[in-house]
């Protein structure tokens, strides 16, 4: 179905400008991708507070760390692959070990990077970030949530990783939405299965639920914008009702949301979990929508899979 989609990257860039106007301690760093990440909007309005370190992601992270030491609130952007992969150890040993107030807003995560192919498709970024102490991880699902997540990150004291989609996304939340980093969001009540997702796959999951409903499956949707710390209560309460879980993510099933839910449930309330995401494999080139379909993440493919395992 066609509907208006909005650039969440653009929303990120505009929100940075808004924050920059209110708080002179907001600084922004990029590694030669300011057009793609949309930090160029901030650079244009606040050139003295914008630092392009060039193609040097290690320098990007540790320079941000130094800025945080002087009381600045650095937002750091590049592609998720290079932010979390190339500079993982800088994030671990310098930013998180010292618990510095650095916000890593990485764009172009997941399979939907599209035509650039596997080298640029971070399918491991959540996994890489989740294993580092002190890191808070947000995966927003639409424009409104992205804006609120970025504002929250600026107000929170400590390292934050925000995963921002490359693709444009339709609105899910309206102006009444308020971001609470401690809460997962139940978007629909159901009794047969709990569908747990976030980010770009939330809209596919919402559409999938309509197909499931037509097939007599009453599913509950839990949206988990904050993977760490995870809202155990909301997830467990749902699973106590349904006893069946499917996790859906634009990420490898190793180490991401699916793993996170399994870790949680296996200790507190064991239930059968099916993880849908990319398997233990690299991505490939293609259009974003084609790739979502190929890796089973469109509403239709999700519904086929879920009907198969529920019935």
């Amino acid at each position: 179905m066609e509907r208006e989609c909005k650039s969440v990257r653009s929303a990120y860039g505009k929100t940075l400008v808004e924050l920059g106007r209110k708080n002179k301690n907001i600084v922004v760093l990029d590694a030669d991708l300011s057009c793609s990440t949309q930090t160029k909007l901030f650079a244009k309005e606040f050139p003295e507070r914008f630092f392009n370190v060039g193609i040097a992601e290690q320098d990007l992270m540790t320079t941000a760390a130094g800025l945080a030491c002087t009381g600045k609130i650095p937002f750091v952007s590049t592609f998720a692959m290079f932010a979390t992969g190339r500079a993982w150890e800088q994030i671990r040993n310098t930013i998180c070990y010292s618990n510095l107030n650095v916000k890593i807003a990485a764009t172009h995560a997941g399979i939907t990077v599209g035509e650039d192919g596997a080298s640029h498709q971070a399918l491991e970024d959540i996994s890489l970030m989740r294993s580092i102490p002190n890191m808070l991880i947000i995966v927003p699902a639409d424009e409104k949530e992205t804006i609120e997540a970025v504002k929250f990150a600026a107000s929170y004291n400590g390292p934050v990783y925000i995963r921002i989609a490359r693709t444009n996304l339709p609105d899910i939340f309206d102006n009444t939405y308020s971001f609470n980093y401690k809460k997962a969001i139940k978007l629909k009540d159901g009794s047969d299965v709990t569908l747990i997702t976030n980010g770009e796959t939330l809209v596919e999951t919402i559409d999938c639920v309509k197909i499931l409903s037509e097939n007599g499956i009453n599913s509950e949707i839990i949206h988990v914008p904050v993977i760490k710390p995870i809202d155990a209560e909301t997830i467990i309460n749902s699973v106590k009702k349904t006893n069946r879980v499917v996790t859906i993510e634009n990420h490898s099933i190793i180490g991401g949301l699916g793993s996170c839910v399994c870790e949680l449930l296996s200790e507190i309330y064991p239930a059968k979990v099916t993880r849908i995401g990319t398997k233990d494999e690299f991505g490939q080139s293609g259009q974003a929508k084609e790739l979502l379909d190929f890796y089973g993440l469109t509403a239709k493919k999700l519904a086929e899979k879920i009907i198969g395992i529920i019935k």
Partner: protein, 278 residues
């Protein structure tokens, strides 16, 4: 500010350096682990920096100069014993605490940890990260019009990390004249000579090619250290002081021996070493 140390200054610095070296050896001996070689090569510079150059705040946030303090980053974090020794001497914490070094529950971690010990600006230990951190701090201070300096202390083996050169470009690109780096050029790394493991080459020429001012000195000559830093403070661009040092300096059997990079002295070795440092 005079740019020469008096004979009395030098005499005092000598006395303090000997005391700091004794601390370093006792700490590492007591912990049965640590890095004496690179701590001993660093001592004289840290001594001059902390006692003669930097605006320091041993009382941390409660110090009236706190915002205007100079910043120090021990990029070669394995020389932590030297840093803790000079911090204790300057009153950041009691000297008795030095013997908790590397013990369970201690604030004096094997490599410096800013969340455990106040006065440590940022945690270090993984090589190659300090110079970029220094760039970030130097930029941040400039944004706030604070005239403090940022001092980054690097090892020479550390220069094999590519990230050092990302930072070197960053510093000159952003004209960070408030950033002063030291290279502890003791010519040794764990596996042997820096020139045999992976030639570090002409460090001065390399930094100059990256847009820095650079000066080569004897890293154990107090007057040269003092003059070099005062010179660096007047630079119109980032400044690196390449300090030719002796790994294990002050203890005859440790000097210029890579085996003492990461080994603790036993009881007899400690006794011998302390004798030499009387």
């Amino acid at each position: 500010m005079t740019t020469e140390l008096t004979a009395e200054d030098i005499n005092n610095l000598n006395t303090v350096s000997k005391k700091l070296r004794r601390y370093v050896l006792k700490m590492i001996h007591n912990a049965k682990s640590g890095h004496p070689g690179g701590a001993l090569s660093a001592i004289d510079i840290l001594n001059v920096l902390f006692t003669k150059i930097m605006t320091i705040c041993p009382d941390c946030e409660s110090d009236k100069n706190y915002l205007n303090r100079d910043r120090f980053i021990l990029s070669k974090g394995h020389a932590s014993a030297a840093l803790y020794a000079v911090m204790a001497h300057c009153g950041y914490f009691k000297e008795e605490e030095l013997l908790t070094f590397r013990k369970l529950g201690s604030r004096l971690q094997g490599h410096p940890c800013s969340n455990k010990l106040k006065g440590i600006e940022i945690s270090t230990g993984s090589l190659g990260q300090g110079l970029s951190i220094g760039c970030g701090m130097a930029i941040g201070l400039k944004l706030d019009n604070i005239n403090s300096k940022v001092y980054v202390f690097l090892g020479d083996g550390e220069l094999e990390e590519g990230s050092v050169w990302e930072a070197a470009m960053n510093a000159s690109h952003n004209k960070l004249d408030n950033l002063i780096a030291f290279v502890d050029r003791n010519n040794l790394q764990i596996d042997g000579s820096t020139e045999k493991v992976k030639s570090v080459g002409n460090v001065k020429a390399k930094f100059e090619a990256f847009g820095w001012n650079a000066l080569e000195i004897d890293g154990h000559d107090f007057n040269e250290i003092y003059k070099a830093i005062n010179n660096a403070k007047l630079s119109d661009r980032p400044f690196v002081i390449i300090a030719n040092t002796v790994k294990g300096k002050g203890v005859s059997f440790m000097e210029n021996n890579a085996n003492w990079h990461g080994k603790a002295p036993n009881d007899d070795e400690l006794k011998l070493a302390l004798e030499e440092l009387k």
